[in-house]
């Protein structure tokens, strides 16, 4: 599904990612753990095609297609989705309007008919219920005045609505209480049940206990220094990252 080779990325001339190699096959869940500033969010933004993040070397392939130079919009249409750590507010634009525009952009790209309002509403209500969100969520301006938990749930709501091929969850677990965490974890598990691939970026192994990823990678200073399974995540939780450096 996703194949990243020797990826180097700079932000404002400063190199943040220093040669990432990562392959995520179809249907697998991978996790990347690392301290603040290790380059985790840079990886998420780079995969999404944010132009503020400059790829200086390396390649990103998705299902054999080189997407290194592809625009954010086309990456999305090709099935990449990011649950952002700090999703931006768009005042005055309702979730319903925004999400339906996004869904229809995807359908149009696939040569399919637009989703009509009723179908959209039914689909949305079903997903909102699972996330323990009220229907009125659709009427609210995107991320405008949302609590931390609502922002994260909003991202998961969009993820389940768009059902992409590859999802990147950037610190989606941070700031969530235990109930919200379970709801988010269930959402991710449901998403992954559909043969999709997932990359979870996190500080803590808490969320991973619920999701049980196939592979856990540890990132330090812009590089993946060690890969393993859940045991590795638990070791990190217990001992921290220092023993892995060098």
């Amino acid at each position: 599904m996703i194949d990243i080779k020797n990826l180097k990325v700079s932000v404002e001339e400063k190199e943040i990612l220093k040669g990432i190699n990562l392959e995520i096959p179809e249907g697998e869940v991978h996790a990347i753990m690392g301290r603040n500033g290790s380059g985790k969010s840079t990886l998420a933004n780079t995969l999404a095609g944010n132009e503020k993040f400059e790829v200086t070397d390396g390649l990103i392939h998705m299902n054999g297609l080189d997407i290194t130079e592809m625009s954010a919009e086309n990456r999305s249409l090709n099935g990449i989705f990011v649950c952002f750590q700090y999703p931006v507010a768009i005042p005055g634009v309702s979730m319903a309007y925004f999400l339906r525009a996004a869904i229809n952009a995807h359908l149009e790209n696939q040569g399919k008919e637009e989703m009509d309002a009723l179908e959209f509403l039914n689909q949305s209500k079903e997903i909102l219920k699972k996330l323990n969100l009220d229907d009125s969520f659709l009427k609210r301006s995107i991320n405008d005045g949302f609590s931390g938990g609502e922002k994260k749930k909003s991202e998961i709501f969009q993820l389940l609505s768009l059902n992409p091929k590859f999802a990147i969850l950037d610190e989606t677990d941070s700031g969530l209480d235990i109930d919200a965490l379970k709801i988010v974890a269930d959402g991710v598990k449901e998403f992954n049940g559909k043969k999709n691939s997932t990359l979870i970026i996190t500080h803590y192994e808490r969320l991973l206990e619920y999701i049980n990823p196939d592979v856990v990678h540890i990132m330090i200073d812009g590089k993946i220094v060690k890969s393993g399974d859940m045991k590795l995540a638990r070791q990190v939780e217990e001992k921290g990252y220092s023993w892995l450096a060098k």
């Binding site: 095609g49 944010n50 768009i90 925004f98 525009a101 952009a105 969009q158």
Partner: protein, 481 residues
């Protein structure tokens, strides 16, 4: 990213103005030039009473002593007032019924999406169509007259309802008010007149559609709306003009009078031709709009969406004379290419417990310059007056500008004032967020801008709100990359 933005902004400058066609119609047009004779001739064509001619001449005399105002944040070549023609009208006189209206003109309005055919009426809207200097048709007059509502061209009102005209003309905007109002008072050729009788809620939305067609002419219309005690009316105004290389002057006056417990809601979508990418051509829009809340508990609300004109100079204002009266101003102004807008409002609190709200949204793209200029005046006897002002600006690209000039003058200590202002670039993170969900740049920009303008669009009547949204989409297409 910036360079790419700029290229695409530049590309945007080729956007076509879809109302830029001209209508080939036989017309009567005055030779260019302005003097007492021209005014007398104009008044004579309109068969006006002597007092009105005298009023015009006094206004003209006054205008000659005045100087064009220079305080606005706009730049333009001096206007040669002697090079303009002050009257242009289609030759066929055709006011009696729609059947007599020149088919070319009916076709013009059809092309503009305004049906003057009552069979194919706009849902619940009566229209007065002003073509250059004259009103060519007014729909639904009979239906309205059943309710005692008078809705007709200004010229007709002068003939049919001279007492009302004499009583109210210039009562809110005297001809001494400002340079352009004085000019308008001297040479106004037509416009709309509305009278809503006591305790009548006008059953239809009333609307005037202004179309400038002739070249080298100025358009000077005058609108007068009187809402008698306890009455209510919603009035809409739309404007377009052909694409011409030279600038054309539009200097209108709109006077509103709301008596006790009356409400007037006045909405404008201004889409005059804005000139080309080099700033050539386009309408100079110098307009004086003012409403007087004459009675207690009366309310006047202005909503405007200003997307056209090379220059916009316009400050729809409210004088809150009655106690507990309310003034509102909701505005969206968009400038692109080399458009300049200096617009805002004046809220004058005279009565007790008067309340005003100002919501202004400025959007600048290309090399557009957008200025908000607003005054809030609380006079000595206006106990417990309240004002809330919010002025937000968005910049699209790096060649445009947004400016805010709030003026506040408080003479009563019980006043409560709140003022908020923000200026921001259209957020790259907002655009990226939309892109990441598969939404393209054009759609993202119009979505973000529409969201930004939401509070104002919510004030527009339904069909206008849809039109305003579409107008923004077309106007801002390709404005960001």
């Amino acid at each position: 990213m910036i360079d790419k933005n700029q290229q695409i902004i530049d590309k945007n400058l080729d956007q076509e103005y879809k109302y830029g066609f001209t209508t080939d119609v036989e017309q009567i047009k005055f030779e260019p030039g302005l003097n007492e004779e021209v005014i007398a001739k104009l008044s004579n064509i309109k068969n006006e009473p002597k007092w009105l001619l005298d009023w015009r001449l006094k206004a003209y005399e006054n205008w000659q002593k005045m100087k064009e105002p220079k305080w606005a944040n706009i730049n333009y070549e001096p206007i040669d007032y002697q090079a303009l023609s002050y009257y242009a009208a289609p030759k066929k006189k055709s006011k009696k019924s729609l059947d007599e209206v020149d088919p070319e003109i009916l076709e013009t309005y059809n092309k503009l999406g305004i049906s003057l055919d009552e069979q194919k009426k706009l849902e619940g809207v009566a229209v007065d169509a002003v073509f250059d200097s004259v009103s060519v048709a007014t729909t639904f007059k009979d239906e309205l007259s059943k309710h005692g509502v008078i809705f007709c061209s200004f010229s007709e009102a002068v003939q049919e309802h001279p007492d009302l005209i004499k009583k109210y003309l210039g009562s809110v905007i005297p001809y001494t008010d400002n340079y352009f109002a004085a000019l308008n008072s001297a040479v106004f050729s037509d416009g709309s007149f509305v009278y809503i009788p006591k305790n009548v809620k006008c059953p239809l939305e009333l609307s005037t559609y202004f179309r400038i067609n002739a070249s080298n002419t100025g358009q000077f219309e005058r609108t007068l709306i009187i809402a008698d005690e306890g009455s209510e009316v919603s009035y809409l105004e739309g404007c377009t003009a052909p694409m011409r290389d030279e600038n054309q002057l539009h200097a209108a006056c709109v006077e509103l009078i709301a008596h006790e417990d009356a409400t007037i809601k006045y909405s404008t979508i201004q889409n005059w031709y804005s000139g080309n990418e080099n700033g050539e051509g386009g309408i100079y829009n110098f307009v004086t709009k003012r409403g007087k809340c004459a009675g207690d508990r009366s309310k006047i609300s202005w909503t405007q969406v200003e997307t056209g004109s090379a220059i916009t100079w316009k400050y729809p204002s409210v004088i809150m004379q009655g106690d507990d009266s309310v003034g509102e101003f909701y505005s969206v102004a968009i400038t692109k290419n080399k458009q300049q807008a200096d617009t805002g409002t004046k809220m004058i609190h005279m009565g007790k417990n008067t309340k005003s709200t100002i919501i202004s949204k400025g959007i600048s793209a290309g090399e557009g310059q957008n200025t908000y200029r607003g005054g809030v005046k609380i006079l000595k006897n206006a106990d417990n007056a309240r004002n809330f002002s919010q002025c937000d600006s968005i910049l699209i690209g790096d060649k445009c500008g947004a400016h805010t000039f709030p003026y506040i003058d408080v003479k009563n200590q019980t006043a409560q004032m709140e003022h908020e202002a923000t200026t921001s670039n259209i957020g790259e993170d907002q655009l990226f967020y939309c892109n990441q969900r598969g939404i393209n740049l054009d759609d993202a920009v119009s979505m973000i801008v529409n969201g930004f303008c939401k509070e104002v669009f919510e004030e527009l009547p339904m069909e206008f709100a849809v039109e305003a949204k579409q107008l923004i989409e077309v106007t801002l297409e390709n404005s960001v990359g």
